[in-house]
Structures are given as C-alpha cells and as structure tokens.
Symmetry: C2
DNA sequence: TATATTATTAACCGGTCGGCCAGTTAGTTT
DNA sequence: AAACTAACTGGCCGACCGGTTAATAATATA
C-alpha cells in the first residue's frame, strides 16, 4: 500500500484542522490542548512536538485561514478594473466568499477581540491599502465620486458585507419560514442598491 | 458615618464592574474568578454567593451592558420622527455612543461568537424591529426610498457604524500622525454622505 | 544492515481553575 | 438581649490545565 503507517504532513494538517475547529468554536481561552488532540485523534504531546505551544498553534491556525482570505481578496482586486461595475462585482464576490467561509467571519471577530498587532492585522492592512488604490483609480477616472476618502469607500463596502454575516441572526428571525439563502440574496440586492447609489459621482 | 461597614448593593456592583473589566479584557475563557475577586477587592467565595457561578456572572455582565445599550437606542428611536434628517441624527448619535462605549462593541462581538440564543440576542432583535418600523414610516411618507426592505436599511446603518469601531485599527495606521478623533469624524462625514445619498427616494 | 532521525506515546509535573464548606461577623427582627 | 438572617472569609477539593520527559516504533540515511 502507498498509505504509510506514518504521515507527518497529514498528521500536521489533521492537528491544524482540529485546532481550527476547536479554537474557532470556543475561542483560545476556553479551548484546551487535550480537546484538540482528541479531535485530531492524536496525543497531546504531538501537538507540542509539531507546534511548540498552544499559542503558536493558535497563531498558525489564524495565519493559515487568513492567508487564504488575503489571497482570495487580492485575486479579486487583481481581476477588477477600477470602474463601478467591477467594484460591484467585487462586493458580490466578497459576499459569497464569506457566505461559503463562515470560519473567516469568526476569525475576524477573534482577531478584533485580541486586539494585538499581529500578522493577521498586518496582512489585512496591506489588503486595505491595495483596495484603496483601486478605488482611487476609479475616482480619478470619474467613475466613483471623488469627494470621499477611498479608504472609507472600501471600508464601508467590506463592513456592509462582514456585518451581515456577523449579525444576520438578529434579522433572520423576522423572516422566519423564509429560506436563509433567499434572505441573503435579498439583503445583497438591497445593499448593493444603497451602496452604489451612494458612491456614484455627483 | 453614613458609610456602613457592609453594603451589599455596592459590593454587588463592585463585583459586576470588576467582572466586566476582566471579562471584556481577556474574554470569558481566560478570565478567572480569582482575578475578578482580586479586582473587586473581595473574596472569591463572595462572587459565588452573589452570582452562583462564573457563567451566571458573565451573563449578568452582558445583560447589564446590553440593557444600557438597548435603553439608549430605544430612546434614540423614540425621539426620532421618521424623516431622513432625523435618521441621520440617529446614525450620528449611535456613532458617538459606540465611540464613548467601546465595551459595547466588544460585547457585541462576544455575543456573536458565543452564538447562543440568549437574552442579549432577544433584546437586540426587539430593537431591530422597533427601528425597522420607524424606517417603514419614513418610507410611507416618501422620505426614504421604498424599494428597499426597511430592516436592511436599518441593519446597514448600524453595520456601517459598528464595523468602524471593530476594524478601524486596520485603517488608522494609514493615517498615522493624524489624531484618531479627526479620523473618526472624517469617516462619519464620508459615510453619512454615502449612506444617505443611497437611501434617498428615486 | 547498522545508524541516525523523527514521529509517536504514556506517564507525569506543578500550578491553577471553579466551586464548596464550615465558620465568623454584622445587621435585623422580635 | 436572644434569635435569626445575610454578608463575608479562609481553606480546601478534585479536575483539568499546558507543558515536559523518557522511552518506543517507524522511517530515512549510510
């Protein structure tokens, strides 16, 4: 068989997966190494063998997810010419990305609560800057109103989407019976109307 | 002296204050009853005497803050006639409220992450509903565009403000040197432009 | 095949955790 | 002033925490 009795890389990945599940579920403080080990099907010692400490493990979990996030976002910016329609496309893409990756929304919240200037924060700042440049280009072309700071335009767009997945539970009950996916779609449609009407040149 | 040697209500409040500080600082999991007791200047046993368990204490901390929040928001809605200008006023009021009560932003994040259908969630849903009614009134009067679900209008407004205080750290660095208060003000100004242009009748 | 390396485990460490209990002290009631 | 209730304390408990260590089993290397 090609299946080895030992497979370090797979083990490492299994630990990371388990750690992500536990950490994102209960947060760093309430998660325990034993739980993670059990979830991964290995011994606690092995976590230390691969990652050294609980904190290191948490850091790796965060950066792994965050890298996927940043890559996705940068690709999105790359593909987007800076006119309004493609900014709208970006917003929709971002919306569906968060819808498909709810862990990301949780990580963002945890990172906020830890309020430390870590790698994730730095990555996100770089992303923000890259996006703002694109928006500024759109403004220079006259496709986006220029009397608003490009950083704020981007920030608002991101916020409108992020906030939905963070707090939609508070709204969903008002639409009970309705299919959540339908409500998601309705929100996206309405919010696109508001936002893009608001950033039109005038 | 009027100062009693014992003052249960004051003690209770002191414990709640201490608990809020510790809980919001490090989160439920990493906070410890001993730390809270030390911070409050009482014995650990007393925390159990008043609140029964760590979890109960945490719940009380949350609901206390959340009540203040809800009261403030309801008062804001009460005072507001449902025309656009007063909705704008509400947005600004909300902005300054979160600016003055950063603990609130953290609590909101915790409530999201714990994702349990608790009192806070219920309170917030009631708030959401009350706000949506006001927006709907504005729409009926023709002061707010009627082709958008009133819940989404309110939700977006709240989100734009909340998200700022959750993630502004990522932006602030790009304005380094600048006074944070000035940046806050600049954001509020710009975002008001976007949002209210976006919800105008058309 | 001998040897070094690394993946893996079980047992264990000191320390802290949340919670409990027995007792004391301060106010209240009668 | 006696009896009762509630505030408050110190000390203790078993459980679990993150981390270490010493040994073993599998693999890579020579």
């Amino acid at each position: 068989m090609t299946a080895r009795t030992r497979n370090p890389e797979a083990t490492r990945a299994a630990i990371l997966d388990a750690a992500e599940k536990i950490f994102l579920g209960k947060g760093y403080g309430e998660a325990s190494m034993s739980q993670i080990a059990a979830q991964a099907g290995v011994t606690k010692s092995l976590l230390h063998h691969y990652f050294g400490s609980k904190e290191n493990l948490w850091t790796e979990v965060k950066t792994r997810r965050f890298s996927i996030y940043v890559d996705h976002q940068l690709a999105m910016l790359e593909g987007a010419d800076p006119d309004v329609n493609l900014l709208m496309e970006s917003m929709k893409t971002y919306f569906h990305f968060l819808k498909d990756n709810p862990e990301m929304v949780r990580i963002l919240a945890w990172v906020f609560l830890e309020r430390q200037q870590d790698t994730c924060m730095t990555m996100d700042q770089g992303l923000m800057e890259a996006g703002a440049v694109k928006v500024a280009e759109g403004q220079a072309r006259g496709e986006i109103r220029a009397d608003i700071n490009p950083h704020f335009i981007l920030f608002t767009m991101v916020g409108i989407v992020q906030h939905w997945f963070q707090d939609r539970a508070h709204v969903l009950e008002r639409f009970d019976g309705a299919d959540p996916d339908t409500v998601d779609q309705a929100y996206l449609g309405d919010v696109v109307k508001i936002f893009f009407e608001g950033i039109l040149p005038r």
